[in-house]
Symmetry: C2
Subunit: 230 residues, 2 copies
């Protein structure tokens, strides 16, 4: 008898989405809203988190952080003084180190997180403007940080990342005047790749705009429950 | 009869290395020295190339550029005024866009390059501090650009990249004093992950250090032929 065997080769992204949904179910059961924070290396993601979560943090919103890095625990160490749950996730189990977090890596970190004691979990992704945008991890909202030092052309060069996010934080505005960066050009490019996306101008160094960003994060759980965030 | 079938599953990096060697053979036959220029998005790779290759370029060294980007031809367009061979290579054929160049992508661009008319080919990789370091493309030397705006901790967070390079260019030194960056700390971290690696302090914006960098590139073919570069 002639027998034909059909083997379904699952797309890596399909598998990722399946696990992302499982993560999402766990987050929903625990009542945790999840933000995926992305950006290039050195855009200022960790410094922004220090600023936003420092002092009195997000008033009334119990927050935890999952720090994704290729290796080391530098970023988690920097957040240790905040006295909130911080878990470091390293991606160097892959060959040479994975350049992004995927749903399965986040899933492997869930047992280390006190989900039942959190309202908001912020996942700081690996510094990279390409692959993190391709892998959902079960988050409610995706936020990216773009520093003015990186140049005004970045939305055109990395459109998937800018398109994937609900909020674009333009950081290091204290450097305007010291770098060749025209904010109008940047916002024009941003609008071209992601029309109408919310953006915020901040400086993690001087604190300018940080109150507004803190309010955005503090309101995220309520917005997510109302179905406003994706 | 019981039959066992053994299937060799080739490592993706093995396949890459095989193609990288084939590229290298082609480069050698044409007498072209190849530099792989890497760095984070916005580190200033293209601006540095404009500076180094502008004016009279590398005196006596016929130079071409292969521009790697996820999509678009912004960087190649910026180099068009240099009147040297510039080929744009886009990686968005992959799902969502590949975050690095690999040997096969570079190989696909070779027919578009006038190798026989070049002494030096500079390949500008996709902006990323992780994966480009994992994929040889047939180059003689690897150079990375790290901007002081990215922070002094980058060698510790992305050690593979800093370890992979023969030259580390510390760019945007005109911003020292406007950013929290201690050069001694950075160089200490750099030495920890790649002891003794050559480094150069430059500003693509003001031109400081660019003459030294131009001389480095101009001398690369001779160094490569003498077997000094890897």
């Amino acid at each position: 008898m002639h027998r034909v065997r059909v083997r379904i080769v699952e797309d890596a992204l399909d598998a990722n989405n399946t696990i992302a949904r499982a993560n999402r179910d766990d987050f929903d059961r625990a009542g945790v809203t999840v933000a995926n924070l992305m950006g290039a290396p050195g855009a200022g993601k960790t410094t922004l988190l220090e600023r936003v979560l420092g002092h009195h943090g997000l008033e009334g919103v119990r927050t935890g952080v999952l720090e994704g890095d290729v290796q080391g625990s530098l970023d988690a160490d920097r957040l240790a003084h905040l006295h909130i749950p911080v878990v470091q996730l390293n991606t160097d189990g892959g060959f040479g180190g994975e350049c992004h977090l995927d749903a399965n890596m986040v899933r492997s970190a869930l047992p280390a997180l006190p989900l039942d004691e959190l309202d908001l979990l912020i996942i700081e992704n690996v510094g990279n403007l390409v692959c993190p945008a391709e892998f959902r991890v079960g988050e409610d909202a995706r936020i990216m940080v773009s520093s003015v030092a990186e140049g005004e052309d970045k939305p055109l060069k990395y459109p998937l990342m800018f398109r994937a996010c609900e909020l674009v934080i333009v950081n290091k505005i204290d450097l305007l005047g010291h770098v060749d960066f025209d904010m109008d050009h940047f916002l024009h490019h941003l609008d071209a790749v992601h029309p109408g996306v919310e953006h915020m101008l901040v400086s993690a160094r001087t604190g300018e705009g940080v109150d507004e960003l803190r309010a955005w994060f503090a309101a995220l759980p309520e917005r997510a429950h109302a179905g406003a965030a994706v």
